[in-house]
């Protein structure tokens, strides 16, 4: 308990400093509303339901894009690691696509897939795909051959080895890729909603800003930060559980 307090003390100090600077008029309120106002706006938005309904919209898009990326990325990565011919075809595409900032695809994806949910899901999918693909590829390729041999000499068929040995052995790296992908999902979700949408947390931030409702806008931004933080913590806890066998 005390350790948690100490860990988050810098945040409390920052909030207090923020409140003081705005209350004393050192920073103009038009630029930065006091923390207390932001908190009040947060409570208000919780009460009128706008925060939850928009968060639910965003969550739906993020989860759909991420889930598709995990499924396809896993298949691509495993295929590349296990089938040299497949790697010869897909590898160069992955390399070419890798350095591209996925936000640059926002206008293109909007033209192709429209301004609705599909376009945003496609964008999140594209952004999350490569971290999962590469995590799986590196993980599966790095599996110690004696583990595979062990399983084979204990009677496992080659097909069984993939799921029973390679997948769990590659899991640490797959999870690392998945964690990066989750962060990208948040980024692309908010970015795509900021640019064009009529609901979602990104939309909420943009429209509140346009209307000059700064305390509420800050509240929406903090909600995104808090959700991202919680997602990452939950992910870390899941990883720790799945990888509890590691020393």
């Amino acid at each position: 308990m005390t350790r948690t307090m100490i860990r988050y003390a810098p945040l409390l100090i920052l909030a207090a400093l923020w409140e003081a600077l705005t209350r004393l008029g050192i920073v103009p309120r038009s630029l930065l509303p006091p923390v207390s106002d932001v908190f009040a706006a947060f409570v208000g938005m919780l009460r009128d339901g706008s925060l939850l309904s928009n968060a639910a919209e965003s969550f739906g898009r993020g989860a759909a894009g991420l889930a598709a990326a995990v499924l396809i990325g896993f298949l691509l990565g495993a295929g590349m690691a296990l089938r040299p011919r497949f790697h010869a075809v897909i590898g160069p595409l992955v390399q070419a696509f890798y350095p591209l900032p996925k936000t640059a695809l926002v206008p293109l994806v909007m033209i192709w897939f429209g301004l609705g949910d599909i376009g945003k899901i496609v964008l999140i999918f594209l952004g999350c795909l490569l971290p999962v693909t590469l995590g799986t590829y590196n993980g599966v390729r790095g599996v110690d051959r004696v583990l595979v041999w062990s399983a084979r000499s204990l009677g496992a068929r080659p097909r069984e080895v993939v799921l029973e040995v390679m997948l769990p052995a590659a899991l640490p790296q797959i999870l690392t890729g998945l964690r990066t992908a989750t962060a990208f999902a948040f980024l692309l979700m908010v970015a795509s909603e900021l640019i064009i949408a009529n609901n979602g947390l990104g939309y909420l931030i943009g429209s509140l800003g346009d209307n000059g409702a700064y305390p509420a806008m800050y509240a929406a931004i903090f909600t995104v930060i808090a959700l991202g933080f919680c997602a990452d913590q939950a992910f870390a806890a899941l990883s720790a559980h799945l990888l509890r066998w590691r020393a």
Binding site: R145, W149, A151, W245
Partner: protein, 268 residues
């Protein structure tokens, strides 16, 4: 057995193994190896490092494709890994995400033993290697010696006819190694598997094996096969017997000649 393709134990005829190195050059690792290991006997492969003794073991395991020649067992010609040939690796190769019990259950499950029957059998093998109480530990929580016991239990539980061991005690400290050698002999006397045991430790080979093959430096050939037969004795007392030390010394000279030749110098 009327099938001419099957034998008792292991029969290796004119086996060669070559592979392509990263630079594309062909490397001849094993050259014209013929060896027969009778059923229920303990055979040690000795040789300088890099002579291909582990490669030979992996060929018997069915992990590496032979270039020419053949390996036959009671199940016929070896073409791929199979549960009748159990393997124990130097670095244990336990599934790190499975507990000791789950590791042992894996091979049992593959052979069709499931449920409470499998658990009982797994526990009896865990008991055989003195790991009772560590069933639910992950390999990362165990010492090297304990991990190798677990690996041995996993392999034995699958009830292979042939036990292939690749420097299984090489990664262990000297004391643990001695204890493991004694226990392996006790288990072998009890189960009478056909064993092929790769080691670079001459005394270990003489202590454990019925017969010992000394391999040459690359390309690996079998220089000489020697009978040992101290493995019927009860304990490490044989280490002090003159016949034992003489044989160790004799074999060591053979191995050393190969090491020197590999280095390109004359034996002194």
């Amino acid at each position: 057995m009327s099938n001419p393709a099957t034998v008792d134990g292991i029969a290796i005829e004119h086996l060669s193994f070559a592979y392509r190195s990263r630079t594309g050059a062909e490397v001849r690792a094993l050259d014209d190896i013929s060896l027969s290991v009778p059923n229920a006997s303990f055979h040690a492969l000795l040789g300088p490092s890099g002579c291909g003794k582990s490669t030979l073991l992996y060929c018997i395991g069915g992990f590496l494709p032979v270039t020419s020649g053949s390996i036959r067992t009671a199940k016929g010609v070896v073409t791929e890994p199979g549960p009748e040939r159990g393997v124990v690796f130097q670095n244990f190769a336990l599934f790190p995400w499975k507990t000791v019990l789950q590791n042992v259950l894996y091979g049992l499950g593959k052979r069709g033993t499931k449920g409470e029957q499998a658990r009982q059998r797994a526990r009896s093998f865990i008991d055989l290697v003195h790991l009772t109480g560590f069933e639910d530990s992950f390999p990362s929580q165990l010492s090297g010696g304990m991990q190798q016991r677990a690996a041995l239990a996993r392999t034995l539980a699958a009830d292979p006819d042939i036990l292939l061991m690749d420097e299984p005690f090489g990664a262990l400290d000297a004391q643990t190694r001695r204890i493991m050698q004694e226990e392996l002999l006790a288990i072998w006397r009890q189960t009478r598997k056909t064993v092929v045991f790769v080691t670079h430790d001459v005394a270990e080979a003489v202590y454990l094996a019925d017969t010992i093959s000394v391999m040459s430096a690359r390309p690996g050939r079998i220089r000489q096969t020697i009978a040992a037969g101290f493995n019927q004795e009860a304990d490490h007392g044989v280490f002090k017997r003159p016949a034992f030390t003489e044989l160790v010394e004799h074999i060591w000279e053979l191995v050393r000649a190969e090491v020197d030749q590999a280095r390109g110098v004359q034996a002194v």
